[in-house]
């Protein structure tokens, strides 16, 4: 029954095609417009890694093994979250042309933009895999646990979508949500275990791996990809909880506030 409905939905309507089309165009707009093109998408995390590597390994001399890869996976997850939230605050204003003249479902605009970010994430993730397995001396290689990354990424996607919905609909009411969120994310960046050793992070900020959903996602991604171990299931369930709650709030906001976007923005 459910399968049949899903099948009809995929075949009978152009929804999925449309999402993919919008995502592709969004991706192209972002990366092919400037001369460096796609290279820039790949270069940015590398440059970030170099900066933090110099700061935390060369200068502060921490003892985290495979530190470059450790940073790599943390940063691409963080960047996806940042691009999908800060980058979409004004989405209802930028993509007004899509819903201003038709009764298109606004949720599709969000999903397609996040899909476009996912394409970027995918490229970065492939780079991480190559880097970790070829260049990283302390690499532990591939393992079956790596497959869990899909569950972690879906978690990240839903969380970012929920947050994006909430922020961009609040933007209709308060334009300076942009500045507030920028400050909040820089705070969150330093409260996430992106370049700290996990044990230091946990002892300095107890329970914060549970309080901060991004922290849990990064911790689990590292367990799966670098430590040859399954995800911390308690943490995973916790973070799915966050994601689902935020998505629900986001959808309510979209219904209540987002429906007025055409006249308010």
């Amino acid at each position: 029954m459910v399968l049949k409905i899903l099948n009809d939905w995929f075949k009978g309507s152009n929804k999925f095609e449309r999402l993919w089309l919008l995502a592709k165009i969004e991706f192209k707009l972002r990366y092919y417009e400037n001369k460096l093109g796609l290279l820039w998408a790949l270069l940015k995390p590398l440059l970030d890694i170099i900066i933090y590597y110099i700061a935390f390994k060369v200068i502060l001399k921490n003892d985290i093994p495979a530190f470059a890869s450790f940073l790599f996976i943390g940063l691409i997850i963080w960047n996806f979250f940042l691009e999908s939230t800060t980058g979409t605050i004004q989405i209802l204003s930028v993509k007004k042309y899509l819903y201003e003249y038709s009764n298109m479902n606004k949720l599709e605009i969000y999903v397609s933009t996040l899909l476009s970010n996912s394409i970027g994430f995918f490229f970065n993730f492939v780079m991480f895999l190559l880097f970790y397995n070829i260049f990283e001396k302390a690499s532990t290689g591939l393992s079956f646990y790596n497959v869990w990354i899909i569950a972690v990424f879906v978690n990240l996607f839903v969380l970012s979508l929920g947050m994006s919905l909430i922020l961009s609909t609040l933007y209709i009411l308060a334009k300076d949500i942009n500045q507030i969120w920028t400050v909040f994310t820089s705070f969150l960046f330093f409260l996430s275990p992106i370049f700290y050793k996990l044990s230091t992070f946990k002892s300095a900020l107890p329970h914060f791996d549970y309080a901060n959903p991004i922290a849990g996602i990064i911790i689990n991604a590292r367990r799966i990809m670098m430590e040859q171990s399954p995800p911390d299931f308690r943490l995973l369930i916790f973070d799915y909880g966050y994601a689902i709650v935020l998505l629900t709030i986001g959808l309510i906001f979209l219904n209540k506030l987002g429906s007025r976007a055409a006249e308010k923005l």
């Binding site: 152009n14 095609e17 089309l21 707009l29 201003e100 038709s102 308060a174 334009k175 007025r260 055409a262």
Partner: protein, 244 residues
């Protein structure tokens, strides 16, 4: 066929709240917590109900500021209604001079995006693509960003997409003022062809000739109120009277 309903609007109304100073930041809201902004209410659409059948061509006439655009936007589902509900059966497309296209995209991309939003599959857009470009007379600018288009080119492209791709329910707001005489002739011909058949069209125009020719029923609006909904001839009479 006559009895299939395309749009049901029950007890709809729309009031715009216009505040004089902009309280649209958190800072502003906090600082002016006890000093609420002076608000002006503009009732753009007074309580009304109507039903539009599938395949009908409805004229929508009234003087400037009578609420025509607000009514089309509410019926198209772009604006939420304050009271009652609007039930729309199918995809809608609203077309006026500043149509829904992204200035950052090329004509080609805009055709695909709009076509897709209107419910077409990519393959169907592939088939229509040449027709759209030809009808819009922009063969040499297919891969040019729309922001470099002249307003005439832009409007022609939008009109072509609307005509060739078309939503189930089309709201056409003053579209006959688009393009030169030759293009206008082409545009009017569309209404005489097979295109119009089976489609629901709401036609907003100040050109009574067009309304009289293509619409069986018409809505006459005055001051946000639907004064008359029925026979086109009679609606035009009201409109002419109002203009005197």
């Amino acid at each position: 066929m006559e009895n299939v309903i395309a749009i049901t609007a029950k007890d709809i109304s729309k009031t715009f709240h216009i505040s004089e100073d902009s309280h649209n930041t958190v800072k502003h809201r906090l600082f002016n917590l006890f000093n609420p902004p002076t608000r002006k209410d503009v009732q753009a659409l007074k309580l009304t109900s109507l039903e539009i059948h599938k395949g009908e061509c409805i004229g929508l006439i009234g003087r400037n500021g009578s609420g025509k655009t607000t009514l089309t936007k509410v019926l198209a589902g772009v604006y939420p209604t304050d009271t009652g509900y609007v039930k729309i059966n199918g995809s809608t497309m609203l077309m006026n001079l500043g149509v829904g296209m992204s200035h950052e995209l090329t004509a080609r991309e805009n055709i695909y995006v709009s076509g897709s939003v209107l419910g077409l599959k990519i393959k169907e857009v592939d088939q229509l693509f040449d027709e759209i470009v030809e009808f819009a007379e922009i063969q040499d600018f297919v891969d040019t960003k729309v922001k470099f288009f002249s307003s005439g080119m832009m409007a022609r492209l939008a009109f072509s997409i609307a005509v060739k791709a078309g939503a189930d329910i089309m709201f056409l707001d003053e579209i006959f003022s688009v393009g030169d005489m030759k293009f206008q002739e082409k545009a009017v011909k569309v209404f005489e062809g097979s295109w119009i058949q089976g489609r629901t069209v709401i036609l907003v125009s100040h050109g009574m000739g067009v309304i009289e020719k293509y619409c069986n029923r018409s809505v006459f609006m005055k001051n946000g109120q639907i004064e008359f909904f029925g026979d086109t001839g009679k609606a035009i009479e009201y409109y002419t009277m109002d203009n005197q």
